[in-house]
Assembly symmetry: C2
Homo-oligomer: 336 residues x 2
Amino acid sequence: MKNQQLVLAERPDGIPGPQHFSSVTTDIELTPPEGHIAVKNLYLSIDPAMRGWVSLEQNYLPPVAIGEVMRSITVARVVDSNHPDFAEGDFVYGMFGWQEYCVADASFMVRKLDPELAPVSTALGALGPSGLTAYFALYEKGQIKSGDTVVISTAAGGVGSIAGQIAKLTGCTTIGLTGSDDKVNLCTEEFGYDHAINYKTCGDIEVAIKALAPNGVNVFFDSTSGAIADAVYPCMALHGRAIQVGTAAIDSWIPTPTGPRRDRYILTNRLNVSGFVILDHMGKYPEALTQLASWYTEGKLNYKESVIDGLENAPLALAQLYEGVNLGKQLIRLAD
Amino acid sequence: MKNQQLVLAERPDGIPGPQHFSSVTTDIELTPPEGHIAVKNLYLSIDPAMRGWVSLEQNYLPPVAIGEVMRSITVARVVDSNHPDFAEGDFVYGMFGWQEYCVADASFMVRKLDPELAPVSTALGALGPSGLTAYFALYEKGQIKSGDTVVISTAAGGVGSIAGQIAKLTGCTTIGLTGSDDKVNLCTEEFGYDHAINYKTCGDIEVAIKALAPNGVNVFFDSTSGAIADAVYPCMALHGRAIQVGTAAIDSWIPTPTGPRRDRYILTNRLNVSGFVILDHMGKYPEALTQLASWYTEGKLNYKESVIDGLENAPLALAQLYEGVNLGKQLIRLAD
């Protein structure tokens, strides 16, 4: 069988895009060895974390090698199985990469999906990493509770929009930070934020947040770092919690960029700042997915997907992700 | 009764010193109203936190006003009491200020001391704020456990030297950061550190720490902020904990100084960074003091005091504190 793949051709210095990947066609035997499955990819997930995956900077996974298929979580269909838990025709979630087909160890990150519960593509977002990230970051690290004021950066994005809704469903006051007036409207009209700020046009972001959070910010769900985060720290309430979920506003960490020191806010307000990586929480996925699916099927979770057809469009979609033009979770569809 | 006092005369722009305080003599009636006690100060504590107390910058207590007696914790003797828990002759710990006598509300921060347990001056250090800070910061925030590698800045100071010993008593590997060869010797010979680094002469601090902590730093007890802390963050282990206990290396927070952003280390290593103020932990003092007194009386806690006689020397002692020349807890003795 022919297998079209996108491999990392050149290591980007900053934002990855079409110039850093090449398309290659290889032969693949769809005959899985013991414990493995052969799958056909249906949807690829385009994620902010990918910039880190192709960088040599310190990260939570080893960098994708030059010539290696681009790492990506995907939703796929099993075409042959040599593992007792999976059968031909099953829908699965896994790390199957930017390619049409994959033969993979079924014990590594592979999860069977129930197509009756929700469209299987949601496993790449609301009922997958985005939802799980929002859920565990807010509850485990942020310790959110009713009455808290929660600020969310990249508020209209795949993770942020779910975080905003989970916080709201928990009884928090939610303030979204986002980069366009369209997204401000999405935040308040679609994602139920109490307030949303266009950080590009609002003037002094710190002043804007303080006006909306006169008693301080209890929880800061931060996917950006950089100037946006700098504006939120002075607004934090006593014993506030900041969760570093991503650093999308920083193009490169080599050399380490500088910014205002936060230690005095951390000390005097006894803040708690913690880094969050979803892989640490795998043991508790079932509990969280049950809650997320319940909200989703009850219509309480407004989840947007932005779907582009064709494997060849994945690199451009990735580059555009960092321009902030996508509305909702960015997916590439290879087949239905 | 005449009462000599040191009042804040001028707000310092940076390090407080003799030029910022004036000596005044006032009359005081040592007749406490109901619920109050009248005390004679024996020992004043000279603390790094005092720079923050006389600054208008955001802090955990309101700033000392111009003309107000300098805020200070002290050990004193009750000369008259109108509170059922205290009697003339009792030794007490309290916030009685830089002055000879004080009439104070006995319900605010006042604690009776047992002179049989240990010299009462230890209530200003090992069996007081320094010991309590080290204890709660390491156990509650740092979650130290046997086998952890713990880095302590201001390692030979009043708080740091106790923190190093508590970590060692808990089975941790301890690395002290300090600013002179004399203090390096103190750290390893008196305070039981496994390693100590003179950060002024060691060259690249990060390289020096990594050589001593090849598996990373699990807990960073930081009283300094600034360049020293910048060197430790890249050395942190997965799921490491950093506790911001002070920010002694930063002269002024107005305007906010800049430094390398730490968000990427926090994210990828899932660090937990927390601010620590001892006042948050008052409810658990008895438990901690019992443990600290037990270690102290068993000779397991090497605690140094640097005692200077005379109220008038308090401002100079405070200024010198930030020069790092003191060896151990700095006290001013007014009487025995």
